[in-house]
């Protein structure tokens, strides 16, 4: 794992130990959890109030399950840090951001400037997602 954490949040980063999803049942006070691609994000829904950090692991950039996991967590109201961890590449950052990630811990270092540029790739967007940007259809019809 790299160690260049980039956060697009104002609050302080969680210092709580990050518990693997599989170990969550034995850690009733955990406030930070790590989801791997096969883990069911919906199983976290009852715990969203107490979680302040959810790491979503991308072992390879091309395993897209983490995008749906992130979107689901945000759709159900999770407001804590959502961190993409692993094979996190510049060219995927705009999509990560659109499905609700607000922190990145990439294996290969990425600069804050690259992140800021990447998430501005599209001047407008066609879909409504959890990022709150108005879809183009909304812009067209007011």
């Amino acid at each position: 794992m790299g160690d260049t954490l980039i956060r697009l949040r104002e609050d302080a980063a969680s210092t709580a130990p990050v518990i693997a999803f599989a170990d969550l049942t034995g850690a009733s006070n955990a406030s930070a959890v790590r989801l791997s691609p096969g883990d069911d994000a919906r199983a976290l829904l009852p715990l969203l109030d107490r979680l302040e950090l959810i790491e979503v692991v991308f072992p390879g950039f091309n395993d897209g399950r983490g995008y749906s996991a992130a979107a689901i967590l945000r759709e159900y109201g999770y407001a804590g840090e959502l961190r993409a961890v692993g094979d996190v590449l510049i060219d995927q950052l705009s999509h990560y951001h659109r499905v609700g990630f607000d922190a990145f811990l990439p294996d290969q270092p990425i600069t804050r400037a690259q992140v800021d540029k990447a998430i501005r790739t599209w001047p407008e967007v066609y879909q409504r997602t959890v990022d709150g940007r108005p879809a183009i259809w909304a812009l067209r019809h007011g």
Binding site: N62, V125, R140
Partner: protein, 544 residues
């Protein structure tokens, strides 16, 4: 047809800048080929056997003369003077230089075209009935829905790294001209008895190494819930589709393994949640798009009767012109299958000629068909003779639509790095063997489809006669299938027996067609006779 507004144009322009930057990083070495590959694939740029191949999207196969002309110009400027129309209603250029790719995309963007998502494990270009908006048998025009899908699927952030590629097709007639049930999602626009429009959604069809016909997952969907429903279909697939084996990663395997009922249940559960999120474009957006697909100003005085005294012209009209919904008009299919030619290839000059004909005679509209031909959808019958003369002079008037010479073939081992065998020379040989149009017409509708490998880009499973190229101990070998269909009566062909050499295969096809002529009753097509008498007589005739 749909015209880009400033929002649509800005999306395409942004992609040009993004990809220009990515290519620069690749050429400078900042990106490795492994890192660059998924990025170029998102822009339809494949590294093939001899060069880069660029696949340009033609959304639902519809384009105007300005766009068509640009496709011809690109063939001249950056390729070897021709382009190849594909079974996905797109066009491919087979001799592209990586360093030219950004300039090509920039040229395309000037006419609202692009190569976005024409490859990669994402939602690919949506395909549609190539007679949409023109066919006499249409219930509703599927193109407005296809355009909604185009926008929704373009840079969809959640579905850019699916387990595998994802193809959607949509039709609006009972006659299926888009092989709809052989797609990951196939949508049919339907009307109920109350006259309301709805969508019937099939999920889990496909060809490839495990061909499957998509079951109906939703019999009736209100059109203004289409985006939400597809969002649910894709999310279930993205989360639960197999990623352990690329050959089992298409959605058809998921639907097959958990069963259509369980897949439907999961989708309905997700759909109920997604409906609460407000992801659906408003009715006004569908209306805005529909207005752009309104009928052109057909001349109500256009005469239906035309002079058919020239027998060659009459033959072409009979074979290549379909009934149009407007009296006095016809739908012209320009065959890109000249005898001995390369199926789907067109020269830059031919492409520009077709563009001119569309501008002058078809309300500036063109379609590309999945059978690798080009359509002038709205032609006055009284213009047909003039059009035919121009096409004939350019080698584009072969009257063989849906006949044995109208062969679908993938690029095969002449170009493709996945192929096991060549498709093009085989198609050329078959076309030459059956060169006589009178003989072709005697054989009637006969859809022959050739794939150079098991990935089935040439739709061999859906051919009345299908051919699959395989590698047999280092030699090209061809398996012969009978009984496939892509229409409303979709069925999958089955291999008839041991494979053949190239020449042996052409002989076997001739034997099979002779048997059909001897056995057919009434107006049976080859496919009907095969279905009636079964494979045994064909095996007997071919293998003895």
């Amino acid at each position: 047809m749909y015209q880009y507004d400033t929002y649509d144009q800005a999306m395409v322009d942004s992609r040009v800048s993004e990809f220009t930057d990515q290519v620069a990083r690749r050429l400078s070495g900042a990106l490795t080929e492994d890192q660059f590959k998924p990025l170029r694939l998102k822009n339809g740029l494949y590294l093939q056997l001899h060069a880069y191949m660029l696949r340009v999207a033609i959304p639902y196969g519809t384009l105007d003369s300005r766009q068509m002309r640009m496709l011809g110009d690109i063939a001249d400027r950056y390729d070897r003077g021709y382009g190849h129309f594909t079974t996905r209603q797109n066009i491919q250029y087979n001799w592209i230089k990586l360093e030219d790719a950004p300039a090509i995309l920039a040229d395309l963007a000037t006419v609202g075209m692009h190569a976005i998502q024409t490859s990669g494990n994402c939602i690919r270009n949506t395909t549609a009935d190539h007679f949409a908006g023109a066919a006499a048998d249409e219930v509703a025009d599927p193109r407005p829905y296809a355009e909604l899908l185009r926008q929704w699927s373009t840079f969809h952030p959640e579905f850019d790294y699916l387990p595998r590629k994802f193809k959607v097709a949509i039709i609006g007639s009972e006659t299926d001209r888009a092989a709809m049930k052989l797609h990951d999602i196939g949508i049919q626009v339907v009307r109920n008895q109350a006259g309301e429009t709805g969508l019937r959604v099939h999920v889990g069809g496909g060809m490839g190494r495990t061909p499957m016909i998509a079951p109906v997952i939703r019999d009736w969907l209100p059109p203004l819930q289409m985006i939400s429903y597809l969002e649910a279909c894709l999310r279930v697939y993205n989360r639960h589709g197999r990623r352990d084996n690329k050959y089992k990663a298409r959605i058809k395997i998921l639907v097959h393994e958990i069963g259509a009922d369980e897949y439907r249940r999961q989708v309905e559960e997700e759909f109920a949640h997604i409906l609460t999120l407000g992801l659906e474009p408003p009715p006004a957006e569908l209306e805005r798009i529909k207005a752009q697909f309104a009928d052109p100003a057909f001349d109500p005085a256009a005469p239906q009767a035309i002079d058919l005294s020239d027998p060659d012209f009459a033959l072409w009209v009979d074979q290549n012109v379909h009934a149009h919904k407007a009296p006095g008009y016809g739908i012209v299919t320009i065959s890109l299958k000249p005898t001995g030619g390369i199926p789907g290839d067109a020269s830059a000059d031919q492409i520009r000629l077709i563009a001119d004909l569309a501008r002058d005679h078809s309300f500036d509209e063109l379609r590309v068909t999945h059978a690798q031909n080009v359509v002038l959808p709205h032609v006055k019958r009284s213009d047909l003779h003039a059009i035919w003369q121009k096409l004939d002079a350019a080698g584009l008037a072969t009257p063989n639509l849906d006949l044995i010479g109208d062969i679908i073939a993938c690029p095969g081992l002449d170009y493709c790095s996945l192929a096991n065998a060549r498709s093009i020379p085989l198609a050329q040989k078959i076309s030459q063997r059956f060169a006589d149009i009178g003989r072709q017409r005697e054989l009637g509708e006969l859809k022959l489809k050739i794939s150079g490998c098991i990935n089935a880009c040439g739709h061999h499973h859906a051919g009345h006669i299908g051919v699959l190229g395989v590698d047999r101990k280092g030699l090209e070998n061809y398996q012969l299938l009978f009984g496939g269909s892509e229409g409303a009566d979709t069925s999958l062909g089955a291999i008839i027996g041991p494979g053949f050499t190239e020449d042996g295969l052409v002989d076997a096809i001739e034997t099979a067609t002779n048997l059909y002529l001897a056995q057919r009753t009434g107006d049976e097509r080859f496919l009907d006779t095969f279905r009636r008498i079964g494979s045994a007589p064909f095996k007997e005739a071919i293998y003895g």
